[in-house]
Symmetry: C2
Subunit: 334 residues, 2 copies
Amino acid sequence: MVTMRDVAERANVSIATVSFVINGTKRVAPETRARIEAAIEELNYRRNVVARALASSRTRILALLHPDLESRANATVIQFVMGAAQGARERGYDLVLWPVNDDDQMSHLLAGGLVDGALLMEVRFRDSRVERLVASRLPFTLIGRTGDDDPPYVDIDFATTVHQAVEHLRGHGHERIALVTQPRTGHEPGRIARVESAYLDAIAPLGHPPAVIAVEGTSAGGREAARALCEEFPERTAVVLVNEGASAGLVKGVRALGRAVPADLSVISAATTRELGEMIEPSLTVMAAPAPQLGRLAAEALIDQLEGVQDAPPSVLLPCTLVPGESVGPPPRR
Amino acid sequence: MVTMRDVAERANVSIATVSFVINGTKRVAPETRARIEAAIEELNYRRNVVARALASSRTRILALLHPDLESRANATVIQFVMGAAQGARERGYDLVLWPVNDDDQMSHLLAGGLVDGALLMEVRFRDSRVERLVASRLPFTLIGRTGDDDPPYVDIDFATTVHQAVEHLRGHGHERIALVTQPRTGHEPGRIARVESAYLDAIAPLGHPPAVIAVEGTSAGGREAARALCEEFPERTAVVLVNEGASAGLVKGVRALGRAVPADLSVISAATTRELGEMIEPSLTVMAAPAPQLGRLAAEALIDQLEGVQDAPPSVLLPCTLVPGESVGPPPRR
DNA sequence: CTGAAAGCGCTTACAG
DNA sequence: CTGAAAGCGCTTACAG
């Protein structure tokens, strides 16, 4: 292994000077710099990142803390992860995956000193992991939000997204619009509450009572939502989904119950990928999640924080993008 | 920050002894050990992983080298990634994501000394990255295979999988079976060739000429395959897909051309997730890829290699699992 | 069974 | 503008 000492010897300088040149931390005479750069080139030297980390007490590694995604990983999640990895890499950072199940394990990892900061996925309304993170004194950025006065976060702008979805349906003449979300368990993702209130807000001017259906993010959940829609809310002419995993099941379920999409029921699925929309028959109108961008922004926001960049917005909110498919049409005549 | 020195002082021993206790590398008198463990507990000490890495020249970090997956990430890929992360973590290793586009960047990263070994995804038939990896002298495991005499790898057993798919269709009475794969570009994934030859092998006893259709792994690709099937190979009564991304498009396309699934054409999609099958209408019969297991096995194989574990099988091949849906039935009467 | 000490390969005040 | 030296927090022969 070629070390900084080898380079220093070849260039007839001290290792300190080599370090200054590599890091650009101090001005070095042009001739000296040239000698050092030549030596680096000739020896094909690469600075050892571990030694650098120990000496500078900065590892330039970020952790992505996430629950077990092996099973229920949806398409937006991977886009998010890859966006974060890409964003970190471009700034010279590495991203480690930390599948953590319990808070103790998380604290343990955090205390090891491997990472300079953390990205926390799937943030829930009251999230004990956030407390642990705060206690660890490690800088971090949330993906999603907890309560109101939040630490730095990036998130989908669900309020705007839901409003636009409702607006799109209104533009087609719909007035009785249902919402399909996920169940609010003790530790629901913070977004459920936000989505619901945005929905209530958006349909208020229409003068019809709300219809909220919460089901698991699975095909079975989607079919259950279809049944609820047809039986409990038969007057609804359109539905907004904020439940990626249930989207396909809902459409299949609705059609299995003898109702056509969009002739009898218009469907719009928010916070999913355009690819999902294309897979379903009829092609689903979706609001595509800005997952890759959010992943990248999350990494960048954290790095800005670590490097003390000024004027960096502490938090970012991005809406989804409407991608019209064939699942929205005019409401049926009665 | 609490260091090993703090622990040593409190327990009245040298830091060497603390190290022996923590790592279990040398026997230590029970009383001494107890004192040290108590001190660790009281001070809530955690060994610094960076210092350990530098001193032991083992970082216990693995790299996952992958192409840009931001856009075309399919469901099996994320399962694979998460499986690898999980497997590494359970053995006390960390997994960093390295989105690498060009070989130089890869060599550069490899030379930094951050990782003890690498996992290479999406291996192609002739893959220059493998050469770089060999040149770096870093241990690695491939996901997928290149040519014949391969370095250690884990892969889907495509031969067995395709045979089983054909067998399943034969069990339903099909004899004219087509194959849909991906295009063989200059750098095709190594699996395409394997899949094709397994297919040729499996249908040989049926006595009908092969029908191979290669399309992109997208909805558009799937529709193109549907057209090719209906127009160029109208006598085929069943199709085996080894093209996750084209699966939905193929079914939609076939139905759009007025042919029913499975009444006119039976469809089986290999190396995908069961979730994908459920999303499509009619529910697709799939051969579910053992992606989470393969990810885990890849990490474990690499770690075994790093730790010099004996009797560890150098390479692993796992077939997919049949998950019956509603897309396979008897061939149409003519 | 335990300790003193060298060393891993860098960074960073400090001095000149 | 450059260098000598301390130090980051561990591991690991070596000695006793």
